[in-house]
Point group: C2
Chain length 364, copies 2
């Protein structure tokens, strides 16, 4: 086998090795089936079992209440940016509140603006998206169709540590980049959605968790693939679903249940991993400058800058040469970013921390 | 390894064993990369190479002219049912012609009806969708925005043997179930799209081949994930694409180029495979009754009925017990269906043919 390296990419990102190993072992023929998971009919008993087992493990991990449906949809989180307002804002006669914390929140509101009135409940752009808001700062509409927020901004590296309080207004969350990294108060969410390719699996599927009372709020029938009712009625199989991606999400969820022991434990590991890197930043005397304010720091994406872009580039190249890949910051903000999702082992963060210390010793 | 069986499912369907074997070998770490194809950034050089190599092999196989773009999109063919009229019919002031040959064409026109005027250019429903039309039967609008047809109806088992003649009106094709099964006159197509999960790869990606002059015909800007301009401008990476599915399409295309030797050869093999089963039907003295008229017979999906549903059920169960899986007809038409896409080996069709002869000898 090829040697595996430490992959700090923002997503697609590292996957748990046991999940990859099981997928590899069974890729030509699922046990007892005689066909690859990619070849079986999505209507077959075996495929339904794959979906059911994946959902069961997600329900266990997140304590998803019976009041919430779990869907597996095409199009990633970006299609959810549109499906949410198409189903809930169009024709509602109400505004939709959006909390603008960074690049992804901006993308989400842009699609909503096509479907109705939007209200910016808070905007962190003046502050270069360095923090998330307190509840007391939110300017919510009393009669909003919903309030949308982004629980972790992958590009800026800031994260909410609890759900914003929106009262009776349905809370909608793009949780793409911290989904399954920690426990959530699922009963608080009207809809929570996440592209799989950060913590949950490979690119190609969005997990959508929806409280049943949202259904009464849907507007007129629309295009079949954009209408949540079809996804619900057909249990994510209105058309052929992305079977392999769901299978992989299932293997990752199984790893979280069986190997990690749940999301409380995963959260503890993630915090400890992040702390290794934030300590290296805080103790660098300004050699590494963290982007996020301390109480908004993300446990998933650690972002920082250095004195100039030449030094940053040298850091990235040297790190790459030592098997530490994907540390370049997003082109829209520059600097550096270490994405340390669930599957990044502690040893990966330790190796990066050691590299940071060594690099500073040589260049600082 | 688990024993592999013959899989006659309509899709997802059998994949070429060499493609599965290469995917299995490299699943934990792509050669020279050190990460799984599921883990690498879609912005990485390695991922771009996977997409470019996939496109290059598709271009070679189908002789796709430089005038045509190749896109890899989320949502399967079903989302294309909507994207075609959203981009080309909405606001055009023109009608769209649809040739209604079966279940999939009916689904396609339903989405178009949400966006503008549609004209049924031919309707095979009165005849229980047993055949495709001749050009002389088509009632085309002179000023249509486009004419849409379904090159192979998976459920009914009927197939066009050449493109309908629509003159200067752009021809749009849902080729999901015979894509890559034979050469096509690609210059004839405005847009040809196909869900991958029949001949081209696993579920989770649609291949969309589009002549550049379509771009001038697009209407107003719309939701980012539904606007072809974004997919074109960002080279299929407006959001994270379904990387693994594209990788698999690339392995299947490589198999067609290197092992099969191109689509002329694939077509010959496919015709011979289908003939084995159609001969068993035609020579059964009515024990097996073919659904399609002879000159509309599909080389991909062979459909037939038997005297009663008990006998059909017995056929299906006995076949399953002998490792011949997925022969039940679609629930909307009943009977039996053998889907024999590219990856079904000749030996699979011979085994099924032998089973048909034996079953008739015992029960006929």
């Amino acid at each position: 086998m090829e040697k595996r390296i430490y992959n700090f990419s923002a997503g697609p990102a590292a996957l748990p090795l046991p999940a990859l190993e099981e997928a590899q072992r069974d890729l030509l023929a699922l046990p007892g089936v005689g066909m690859s998971i990619m070849e079986i009919s999505h209507r077959s008993k075996q495929c339904l079992e794959v979906f059911e087992s994946c959902e069961a493990n997600l329900r266990k991990l997140l304590s998803i209440p019976d009041s919430h449906k779990v869907l597996f949809l095409h199009g990633g989180a970006s299609l959810q940016f549109s499906m949410v307002p198409i189903n809930l804002l169009r024709g509602s006669g109400k505004p939709a509140d959006y909390i603008i914390t960074g690049s992804w929140a901006k993308k989400a509101i842009k699609e909503a603006q096509r479907e109705g009135e939007t209200n910016v409940a808070w905007d962190g752009s003046g502050d270069n998206f360095k923090r998330v808001p307190k509840d007391s700062e939110l300017q919510l509409s009393s009669d909003a169709a919903y309030c949308h927020y982004t629980s972790n901004e992958t590009i800026q590296g800031i994260e909410f540590d609890k759900e914003p309080d929106t009262g009776d207004v349905p809370l909608i969350c793009d949780a793409s980049s911290n989904f399954l990294s920690k426990p959530l108060a699922m009963d608080r969410y009207g809809i929570l959605y996440a592209g799989a390719q950060k913590n949950a699996g490979p690119a190609g599927v969005a997990i959508v968790i929806m409280r049943e009372d949202m259904i009464e709020r849907f507007g007129e029938e629309t295009h079949a693939m954009l209408d949540y009712r079809n996804a619900i009625d057909k249990q994510s199989m209105y058309n052929t679903p992305p079977v392999f991606a769901v299978y992989m999400v299932g293997l990752v969820a199984k790893w979280l249940v069986e190997t990690i022991g749940g999301l409380d434990k995963m959260q503890k590991i993630n915090k400890d991993k992040a702390q290794l890197l934030y300590d290296a930043i805080d103790q660098s005397g300004g050699f590494y400058k963290g982007h996020a304010e301390k109480d908004s720091r993300s446990a998933m994406n650690v972002t920082w800058t250095m004195e100039n872009s030449e030094l940053e580039q040298e850091f990235i190249s040297s790190a790459q040469a030592q098997g530490l890949s994907g540390l370049k910051g997003h082109r829209s903000v520059g600097g550096l970013r270490a994405s340390i999702y669930n599957a990044m082992p502690v040893a990966g963060c330790e190796t990066l921390r050691d590299f940071m210390l060594e690099f500073q010793k040589n260049k600082g």
